[in-house]
Symmetry: C2
Amino acid sequence: MLERFKVPEDIAVRVKEAPLRETVTSVFKKMGLPDEDCELATDVLVTADMRGVETHGVSNMLRSYVNGYNDGTLNRRPNWRIVRETPATANIDSDRGLGVIVVPKAMEIAIEKARNVGVGMVTISNGRHLGMASYHAMMALEHDMIGTCMTSCPPSVLPTFGAEPRLGTNPIALAAPADKEPPFVFDAATSTVAGNKLGLARRLEQNLMAGWVGDAEGTPIMEEVPPPVPGYEGRATSFLLPVGSTRELGSHKGYGFACIVDILGGVLSGGGYGFSPGRPNFGHYVAAYSIEAFMDTKQFKRTMDEWIHMLESTKPAKGHDRVLYPGRPEAESEIDRRANGIPFHPEVIEWFRDICGELDIPYILT
Amino acid sequence: MLERFKVPEDIAVRVKEAPLRETVTSVFKKMGLPDEDCELATDVLVTADMRGVETHGVSNMLRSYVNGYNDGTLNRRPNWRIVRETPATANIDSDRGLGVIVVPKAMEIAIEKARNVGVGMVTISNGRHLGMASYHAMMALEHDMIGTCMTSCPPSVLPTFGAEPRLGTNPIALAAPADKEPPFVFDAATSTVAGNKLGLARRLEQNLMAGWVGDAEGTPIMEEVPPPVPGYEGRATSFLLPVGSTRELGSHKGYGFACIVDILGGVLSGGGYGFSPGRPNFGHYVAAYSIEAFMDTKQFKRTMDEWIHMLESTKPAKGHDRVLYPGRPEAESEIDRRANGIPFHPEVIEWFRDICGELDIPYILT
């Protein structure tokens, strides 16, 4: 993440992984979820924090999940089921189950199918928030498979040349194993930034950066602006630009990738797309590709190491000290946070104290 | 394509589809290719021109293919073969066959597998130029399938924070059928622009646009520059930026998409990646997903129409008159060019006169 959007070290409160997991699991248990689902949901959230993906970690998502269980929009014990199936595919009705719980189960089905016929691909309709997309993609790694995940989200992004949001931030994740190096893990919104970055910017009192958003007339704002964006005060909708920002810089490509996610995660699930009238949900997509179905797995992994070294040995551009590959910063974050804990904003610690008091859970974080 | 990179109407020479097809087929026949491969290669090239994708049409590619057959880097009669196979996957050694000829055959295999088990996915090593990626993806449409295609190209793109090209323009295409509307067809390089745009800019004496390229130190050039880029005169390599242009605007996303293509089209084919030492080739990837494997095909297509109308009814941004979806401009181009012919630069017509004379083919274009 860009440095300016990290919690500043001087105010950050570091929390160790173990008490965080215990606390988050307790919160889910108090919501009335089955025990194994509590462990799973906790793993998805805390893995995001460990990997430095704050936007999809405990601080940004847990309170929204708690609200969802409390107001009934999330189903505590979803009766998710396969509605159609072939040897390589399945389509699941998620029955309003939280994505962080149902999608790993869908990914297990995809992995099993990939083991049998080479590829497994599963769409999930009637879903709720996915969590970090790469969590699901990474499940494939220990099976020597490539994993991928997308989710069609509610509209918050302007199409190229458009003045109204029509597509979600629609992230795409793909994970592929290497041999000795950390796996390749790509996970990115197809908008310039994830929607949660706008919330982070507000919390950290940071300007929105040039090229992130459009104004009320749909014109990309190509200089920094303080939040909220002029013309959007008080509006419920968001106004992000597709990656590429302007047509000249290639925003039609970000727009096109967002469309692909709407089709594969939305339309192909049978549950409609992000903008579908009355669809207060998400449509997910996961797939697993068996490496051994294409080539020798050991050779693949060794070539991945070689490829990673090729990228990381690129001469750095002026003013930079190294070239990274997707997955390297996250692997380094995991090492740091395992040793030193996860840095939270004091406001998040405050919320934990409150929710622990409210739900009668012992407060053990700090 | 951006208007300024189209051949200006006042100098364009319009050529009808039928004589163009006949001429291009004759050129391939003179190269010594089997008759059916000549028809196929012609269809890939002329379809690009009909759809307004000049970068991958006759004008940009045919002379390079002729050179490749003449200097022996392209195999006239490749003995391509499946080296590994499962019910949903295959890996093909292309035996230096031109991608425009071997990849459609790989896509037919993917379609057959998708018909059998729901998904078909094929990697192709030792390949040569792909042509327009969406041609192969679109083959799935008439089978009521979603098609996708990628190709790992030789390095011409700077990684984020890098000063040397390490990844190809690595395009991604996806096609999905609609009911009454033209199909969704996305096809884009993961760099800011396709490499051929730099050649087009030179031919049309147009500046390179802001954000397209980096300078010799790897710093993104964020204003317009005349070609060639300062510091790169006479260099053989290119220096495009990933889509997103700068880290702040999201170039790590374009970089990540390019990596995905290098992995799926390159590493997973067993043929190495774009930067592999001594790899003078391309690694391709195609896949087909049966819609009926996930849901009712009629419902899918009707929802696609509805989704297209949703996008096209977006209120346009200030200064624009409509919002398009990927596939609409190309469908409109086909209608125009079927009626009025394909606009070529006089320099291209000149080349056709020359090559027809050289190969003893009747000149019938104008």
